[in-house]
Amino acid sequence: MRRLVGTRTLILGGAFMIVIGVLVGLGGFTFAYAKGTSYLSNDPETCVNCHIMRDEFDAWSTSSHRNVATCNDCHTPHDFLGKWFTKGLNGFNHSLAFTTGNYPEVIQIRERNAEIVQENCIACHETLVSNVYGLHEDQDRSCVDCHGNPGHQNRNTQ
């Protein structure tokens, strides 16, 4: 079971610096792929500019959420700054990984991104889960433990 721990803190300055750093990074790493803008768009297709995202895209397009949530609805924070900060950070990470080809055989979501997804689940399903998730300060249970992968359905437990 995945434990969700730690809290996300956004320091304005830091965020800006990274975002800038990332834009440079993106330019440098993936210009050749001409996908620098992928992370700045809300269109799922743009994620799939990287074939490596194909499995998740395919799984998403058959998931219960295909009509209700796009990649960014789940994978980037809903608040403005956090959104651009995350797009930047992921864009940097993934572009780097993609360019160097240095990433795991089976891609696994990172802790920080899992937390973001969790927040987004709750953001959309707040009323429904308010009762059961209102009980404790240290919420350590991931929705995905039971709901497999609503965005993808590419795990056996789905």
Partner: protein, 411 residues
């Protein structure tokens, strides 16, 4: 997760509190005024939803269904009455009306898991005093079967453990309950009662035999170390151990525990009522509620999921019957040797093997999931039980008694 925490606060306030629930409030109906949905669900534990292939809420006599038990429990209270268990609503009355209580003097220790009054009485009387006071003397102060108070902090409603035996046993295992995650608490609240136990010493102090670990071998080692014997079987003369509902212990060895799945995940699945999810407080067989209990994690149709469970259980049940046959063969052989004049010294090995075989069989037979909580481990334990029982039988039939000539075996 800042904004989550904010929501939690909202969440915690959402159910409007009609009454202030006192620290010592035991009556579910009072709690129910603040939490009508959970109360309504919890009350349904009084409902009989019928039998499942190996479980369910029909309190049939296990002694009638499995006559072998009469022989195996001979001389012990369980041979008088032993039924399939049912919902929490019956926790107190089923105990009070059991022939095991009516015909035998039981200690107050029995009340630990069958009465919501237990924690308060323990505070009042003291731990040891509570346990060794005769059950019948305590009886007048026992009114509430299972209550919200067993598992919840009346103020915050957070999960909490209220039973000293569990707290002591976890301490003996070196586990700090203060560190427990919320997910672990969803199992620990159940592990206060759904576990193997015995009454230690003069004061009949309720104790869980966990200090060596939770595996059946660890539990046997513990009982050997403390020299515990539950009863001596009249015909075989073997000093035996009785296992009771080691649901938590068996579960702990299974793939679900390993995957972080808690008791509550399957026995109290979230259920949508209106626009909100609640934990289903109707504690029962998941086979009565497969869609909520299993299908969220297993995207498999209901029929197939039930088949998976029942196939696992049928394998366990078949091996359980084989173990019963083997143990009874062993008892017969021991009795025959005795009749032929074998001495206690000569019978020592056979009886020791019989003890080991029967406590293993009982560990699975008395566990309530018929092996589902840990399929391979249940089969392993029964395999060992059978092996030990047959060795007991062999030891007995090969005893050299005056009037018979040495047996011919080379082994």
């Amino acid at each position: 997760l800042l904004n989550i925490n904010q929501r939690q606060t909202e969440g915690r306030q959402s159910p409007l509190r009609v009454v202030e629930i006192g620290e010592d409030e035991l009556d579910p109906a009072i709690w129910g005024q603040n939490f009508p949905v959970q109360y309504e669900m919890f009350s349904r534990t009084a409902e009989n939803y019928g039998e499942t292939p190996y479980g369910g809420s029909e309190p049939y006599s296990r002694l009638e269904r499995f006559p072998a038990l009469l022989r195996l429990y001979a001389g012990y209270a369980f041979s008088i009455e032993y039924n399939e268990e049912r919902g929490h609503a019956y926790a107190l009355i089923d105990q009070q009306q059991s022939e095991r209580v009516l015909q035998r003097n039981q200690p107050g220790a029995c009340a630990n898991c069958h009465s919501a009054e237990a924690p308060l009485l323990i505070e009042e009387m003291g731990w040891e005093e509570f346990n060794h006071t005769p059950y019948n003397d305590l009886a007048p102060s026992l009114h509430t079967a299972s209550s919200c108070h067993d598992c919840h902090n009346p103020e915050t409603l957070e999960l909490t453990v209220t039973r000293p035996a569990f707290i002591n046993a976890m301490a003996a295992r070196g586990i700090d309950l203060a560190e427990a995650t919320e997910q672990e608490m969803r199992t620990y609240v159940c592990a206060q009662c759904h576990v193997e136990y015995y009454f230690a010493g003069e004061n009949k102090v309720l104790t869980f035999p966990w200090s060596n670990g939770l595996a059946v071998e660890d539990i046997e080692a513990y009982y050997t170390e403390v020299g515990h014997v539950d009863w001596t079987q009249p015909d075989s003369g073997s000093d035996l151990l009785k296992m009771q509902h080691p649901d938590y212990e068996l579960y702990s060895t299974g793939i679900h525990a390993r995957s972080g799945v808690s008791c509550a995940d399957c026995h109290m699945p979230y259920t949508r009522v209106g626009s909100v999810k609640y934990s289903d407080h109707w504690l029962r067989s998941p086979l009565n509620n497969v869609s909520a209990s299993c299908q969220t994690c297993h995207n498999v149709d209901e029929e197939e999921l039930i088949d998976r469970v029942v196939d696992i259980q049928t394998t366990t049940a078949t091996l359980t019957r084989s173990a019963e046959v083997a143990i009874i063969d062993a008892i017969d052989a021991i009795v025959a040797a005795q009749t032929a004049g074998a001495t206690d010294e000569q019978l020592f090995e056979a009886r020791a093997l019989h003890r080991s075989a029967q406590m293993r069989w009982d560990f699975i037979s008395s566990e309530n999931s018929t092996g589902f909580h840990s399929p391979q481990e249940a089969a392993r334990i029964l395999a060992e039980s059978i092996d030990l029982a047959r060795q007991a039988q062999l030891a007995a039939v090969q005893i050299d008694v005056p009037g018979t000539v040495s047996t011919i075996s080379g082994s």
